[in-house]
């Protein structure tokens, strides 16, 4: 099962690169679905079989919220705002991928001194999770479209959640459920705000929201 964990993390990391390389919003949303599948699947591979019932239900809830509900919300917001793709990102797509590679290397480096102190089965898990979180952050700062930024937040949250998934067996599930609920509401509220912005401004380019400053 160690192999399975590694495979799912590998898919998670590859999905990050697809997120960085694409300009189409629909593709971004599809990729977050793929990430949700990976997350809930490798949560299961971390535990020994037979899987505890609570863990199975947590994986199912994760899959439902991150893989079905949130992508649906994003897709609906995309149709309402009438935006198909990111027009002019701050950082181009090929540069984004190059930065992504550097971040991946950095993620591995960071965990060299910290690795020894814990017992996680897979050596890829922590760097992969951190890289996913950094990818989300990169999407938020380098893209202008508000919806891509919301998707970036979701990806970042996926990365952080992957850290938690490594602990899902030991940590109280109530907290994980609370985290999921918050992320759900966050994307929901952001979706509403994007809708209001698109109605008020006729665009959702966040770099043109620059009236308030000193």
């Amino acid at each position: 099962m160690n192999t399975w964990t590694d495979i799912f993390i590998l898919v998670l990391v590859l999905a990050d690169f697809r997120l960085l390389a694409t300009s189409r919003l629909a593709a971004v949303i599809q990729t977050t679905v793929l990430q949700a599948v990976c997350l809930s699947a490798f949560m299961l591979t971390m535990a020994d079989r037979p899987w505890p019932l609570l863990l199975i239900s947590l994986a199912l809830v994760t899959l439902t919220i991150k893989g079905v509900v949130l992508p649906w919300l994003l897709g609906r917001a995309m149709r309402e705002a009438g935006v198909q793709r990111e027009i002019e990102p701050m950082v181009g797509y090929s540069s984004s991928v190059l930065i992504g590679m550097a971040l991946l290397g950095l993620s591995f480096l960071i965990f060299v001194p910290l690795k020894a102190s814990i017992s996680i089965q897979s050596t890829f898990l922590l760097p992969g999770a951190l890289f996913t979180a950094l990818t989300g952050l990169l999407m938020i700062v380098s893209r202008k479209n508000a919806l891509t930024q919301v998707a970036g937040y979701l990806v970042m949250e996926n990365g952080v959640y992957a850290f938690g998934a490594a602990l899902a067996v030991e940590e109280p599930l109530l907290v994980e459920m609370g985290v999921l609920l918050d992320v759900f509401v966050a994307v929901f509220v952001m979706g509403i705000t994007v809708y209001q912005i698109s109605r008020e401004f006729d665009h959702i380019d966040t770099d043109r929201l620059s009236e308030l400053k000193d």
Partner: protein, 492 residues
């Protein structure tokens, strides 16, 4: 009993969404604030020694202190809001700055979110588990976003968007910090505060340091620490004044509580120098940067927002040093919340009277609206730490704490920044209060209403009285309570 501080506003907040009558909704808002205050008072007086109940929630001294601040401030704001909504109830409202028409958010949603905001902040104060604390703090962000965009126009939407995105990202980083904490316990220690403290010696120090950094950045974003503060002036200046008062007086404290808890854990693990020095550094940085932006600030609501950043810096500084400075910081949290609540409510009335946020266009308040003018001046004196108000005493206590710790450089910087801020704020506030209006500008454009409405006057005067009393006399039991609160927050 304890959980009812969350449950009462939660149920009322959800219930209010379905009530079609305006008067009933506003009544419920005040009733919710009143009930909450009563429960908190009962908790404060019945529980001697504050036993911790259960592993998830419990009330310790620090939690009780912040819960009381939140409750008192919310009650004042609730009374103010009921009156404010009565005045602002037309379907289309004229923007007071640019003059275009816009419609407000539905009032039911606004009141509902206010009550839910109270519920989530109460949960922050009573949670004894780092995971639950995180869930609660993120919840405060989400329910307060609709409050900021109550006036639905382009500026408030921009502010809401920045607030939502920046704070959510920050809070996600804090979640990473929580997981690092779990890694520090080798995945075996639960994130319950008592567990963490009991097992502090066995925690892995490298992970613990990494966890604190993440928690500091994460909750620091929400608290408005420089350099993660960029959302704060926008959100505070664009939201309605009572929301600014709550954001500044209660929400920033809640985020600060998250940092306090983390600091407490590191203190128990023997890393107090690491976390304490970080807090001192970021505290000084926040104060200095806030002072720089307050010089020549022409928007008085933004000036108040930067002042909040400054005071959060003072709190971080005091707690980072611990000892007497820590106790002073706890007292300062009370003083700052009440004073800033007062100032924001008064600024709301100035905005309504003059229809501008530019301080250079506001002249002679002391004549136009005498009570508002006096309160504005009193608030200014209090917030800059002039006697005889409460903040003077707490800032002096912190200064004494700094000197006791032998940190002469910090003391010099602290006094210098406070002096700069006093001058910067005086240059804005004094002309607003006493400056004579220019001849060209006719006074007819100003809503001249010499009598302030009761819903404005009473809550604000109440707050002014409390900070005045706190500056003149603090009873012994209150001091020892503040000392205990500081000790729970990692003072040593």
């Amino acid at each position: 009993m304890l959980f009812s501080t969350v449950l009462i506003p939660l149920i009322l907040g959800l219930g209010v969404l379905g009530i079609p009558w305006k008067g009933v909704r506003r009544g419920i808002l005040i009733a919710g604030g009143g009930c909450h205050a009563l429960v908190v008072a009962a908790l404060a007086f019945t529980k001697n020694g504050f036993p911790v109940t259960g592993t998830w929630i419990g009330l310790d001294s620090t939690g009780l202190l912040f819960l009381s601040i939140t409750s008192v401030l919310f009650l004042s704001v609730a009374i103010y809001t009921a009156g404010y909504l009565g005045r602002d109830s037309e379907r289309r409202v004229r923007d007071s700055v640019e003059g275009f028409l816009f419609s407000n958010e539905p009032e039911a949603i606004f009141i509902g979110c206010l009550l839910l905001f109270l519920a989530s902040m109460s949960l922050v104060c009573i949670s004894r588990d780092m995971g639950l604390l995180w869930v609660a703090i993120e919840a405060t962000t989400l329910v307060s976003a609709p409050l900021i965009s109550f006036h639905r126009h382009h500026r408030s939407l921009e502010a809401t968007w920045k607030y939502l995105l920046i704070c959510s990202v920050g809070i996600a980083i804090a979640l990473l910090g929580n997981y690092f904490l779990a890694f520090a316990g080798h995945g075996k220690v639960h994130l319950n505060l008592d567990n963490l403290i009991a097992e502090a010696a066995t925690l892995d120090q490298r992970w613990l340091k990494a966890a604190f950094l993440m928690l500091l950045v994460g909750y620091g974003t929400k608290m408005g620490m420089v350099p993660m503060h960029t959302w704060l002036p926008d959100a505070h200046s664009e939201s309605p004044s009572m929301v600014s008062a709550l954001l500044s007086g209660a929400l920033l404290n809640c985020a600060f509580l998250g940092i306090l808890r983390s600091h407490f854990i590191l203190t128990a693990a023997g890393l107090v120098l690491f976390s304490g020095e970080l807090l001192v550094f970021f505290g000084m940085l926040s104060m200095a940067v806030a002072a720089a932006f307050m010089i020549r600030q022409n928007d008085y609501k933004r000036m108040l927002a930067y002042s909040s950043i400054e005071h959060m810096g003072i709190l971080a500084l005091g707690v980072g040093l611990g000892g007497l400075a820590g106790t002073g910081a706890m007292l300062h949290a009370v003083n700052h919340s009440l004073t800033k609540g007062l100032l924001f409510l008064v600024s709301g009335h100035i905005l309504f009277t003059y229809g501008t946020k530019k301080s250079s266009d506001v002249k002679h308040i002391i004549k136009t609206a005498p009570l508002t003018g006096c309160l504005w001046l009193a608030g200014f004196l209090a917030i800059t730490g002039a006697p005889p108000f409460g903040p003077f005493l707490s800032e002096l206590t912190i200064l004494k704490g700094i000197l006791d710790a032998g940190r002469w450089g910090v003391a010099a910087g602290y006094v210098l920044v406070l002096a700069v801020i006093f001058i910067a704020m005086a240059r804005v506030v004094i002309p607003m209060a006493f400056g004579l209006p220019e001849q060209q500008k006719s006074i007819e454009s100003i809503h001249v209403n010499h009598r302030e409405p009761a819903w404005f006057a009473w809550p604000v005067m109440g707050m002014a009285m409390v900070i005045l009393v706190l500056g003149l006399y603090i009873p012994g039991p209150v001091w020892s309570f503040l000392g205990k609160a500081a000790a729970m927050a990692g003072g040593f």
